[in-house]
């Protein structure tokens, strides 16, 4: 297992946000976390990337216990997050944003190689190379955030709502790219409100409700699960 959460609890002040989350992500998988607003999806992501301290339970990454490890050191280990929403550096250019993604790396040749790779995945970013991140459209910022997360050459890519605020056509496109990234060898854990897309693209998925995992299965299983259909897929 690349990532394993064991019985994770997390508090926001006195409010318990996660009630014992256990999940696994195997090497080479795309795993999706779906659920309603406030179910604890983003909180789980933030616990994994180290932005939120965990109350109980443990996080194992690549065989190592990283529960107490600082966020920046998790990046060095190979965990990379694309934060929710407008997480790009607004005053930095597209290029500088991507360079920030490679902050923990020193090998210039490899960094340039990855820049090329990101520009191939997102030709749009190449066109906007010199533009300030904050002046781009929501979709472009989303692409930039994903591209930037790739620049650390992660083993595990955490994507928080990659389709948020995007037009339907762009949603298709960004999921195509996620699958492509995965096929190039990066393990992906993604959080999505767009359950339809997430489940049809993911190998496996977990359903979160009020801080608990209530269901798990392969993407296809959950896609055809009546309860999931009812609650998240909005089938008429």
């Amino acid at each position: 297992m690349l990532l394993e959460l064991k019985d994770l609890t997390l508090l926001y002040g006195r409010i318990q946000a996660l009630h014992g989350i256990s999940l696994t992500v195997g090497e080479g998988e795309i795993v999706a976390l779906i659920g309603a607003n406030g179910a604890g999806k983003s909180t789980t992501m933030r616990a994994i990337s180290g932005l939120r301290a965990v109350a109980q339970g443990s996080i194992l990454f690549d065989g190592e216990d990283i529960t107490k490890l600082r966020a920046d050191l998790r990046v060095v280990r190979g965990v990379s997050q694309s934060p929710e929403g407008r997480g790009v550096f607004p005053g930095m250019s597209v290029r500088e944003n991507l360079e920030m993604g490679a902050y923990t790396r020193r090998n210039r040749a490899e960094i340039d190689e990855d820049l090329d790779r990101v520009f191939t995945l997102f030709p749009r970013l190449k066109e906007r190379e010199k533009q300030a991140g904050g002046t781009m459209s929501g979709g472009e910022q989303q692409m930039l955030a994903v591209g930037r997360a790739l620049m650390s050459r992660p083993k595990l890519l955490l994507l928080d709502e990659p389709s948020m605020g995007l037009a339907p056509m762009l949603i298709q496109q960004i999921f195509d790219i996620i699958v492509e990234i995965n096929q190039q060898g990066t393990t992906v854990l993604l959080v999505e409100q767009n359950a339809q897309q997430a489940l049809s693209r993911a190998h496996r998925a977990y359903v979160l409700e009020t801080g608990r995992i209530v269901k798990e299965g392969t993407g296809q299983e959950l896609l055809h699960d009546p309860a999931v259909k009812d609650a998240y897929l909005g089938v008429a």
Binding site: G87, P90, Y103, S152
Partner: protein, 376 residues
Amino acid sequence: MSTIMSSLRRADEGRARAMTGLRSRWSSLPRAWRIGAIGAFMVLLYSLPGLNIPLIKTPDTDFTSVLFLCAVYVLVAVGLNVVIGLAGLLDLGYIGFYAVGAYTVAILGSPNSPVVVKFPWIVCVPIAIAVAMLSGVLLGWPTLRLRGDYLAIVTLGFGEIIRVFALNSNITNGNRGINGVPVPSEANWPSWMTWFPYVSSEKQIFSVSNVIGFYWLALTLVVLCILGVRRLERSRVGRSWLAIREDEEAAEVMGVPTFKYKLWAFAIGAALGGLSGALFFSKQTFINAQGFDLFTSILWVAAVVIGGAGNQLGVAVGAILLAYLPERFREFADYRLLIFGVALIVMTIFRPQGLLPSRRRSVELEDRAKEASVVE
């Protein structure tokens, strides 16, 4: 109302375009020209005490003393800019570091302090910088985990604690203060310097009655510190500060050790604050707790914000306005808190990026405004 706002905005955009035009025209000049222009400007700055320019002279105060004050304030602003403008941390108690630097020199260098040692100036100042830096680390260690407003409140408290301590402690002589703060050198001007107006070989280089030596020293330190900070800004340290300022969480998940770099910003800012205090009170030769009120500290923050946080040229202009205007226009002095307060309010509404903004910060502020309007 909205038409006024939009016409103001248009005017503002026009000015911004003119600014960037000026900036790009400047950077497209041949290197030799730029160096020449900067060189000429430096010569002008150094010769200001000897020039008799009628309109800028101050009516009641020795003009060179005002120049010295400006230079010290610029040094303060350069240090505060590291904390506020580069790392994006709001420090309202910066005067605490200034006081620590000043008192360290006074206590270690004056024969009249309760501590009997009497070190020369050149030994005291590095110690003062180190002690100020240490106080920055000690204050930052527990507080830099706090965010925004909390940090501002804690630093405000720190500034006040230092002042109250200075007022009541034995080591600072309480309210009686310490006189005989050492000067950099007791020597007279060498004869080869006497061609400059007001310089004569019967006068000391560093004295309260003839401040030219102090002014030149301060100006030199300002230039060195500006160049040093500029170098830092363009290094990996500067990039880390930039990332922290723009989005601290994003910086963290990029692998930036945010706490470490915030602490560095605090320490470097504190060191520069300590140096400024040491410099200013070497000229005064007398120090007591009255020089360290919180209003001054807050005015410094205002100067940095009004000038244009993040841009060294901008904060220097802000600092010079703060030091110079009350001396040039006496009527101004009584109202300076009011005037700077109003200026600050007007600026935050119409031009939050400051008079001479850093280009990045302008984009950041726009982005933040956009985000706020989304939340609404």
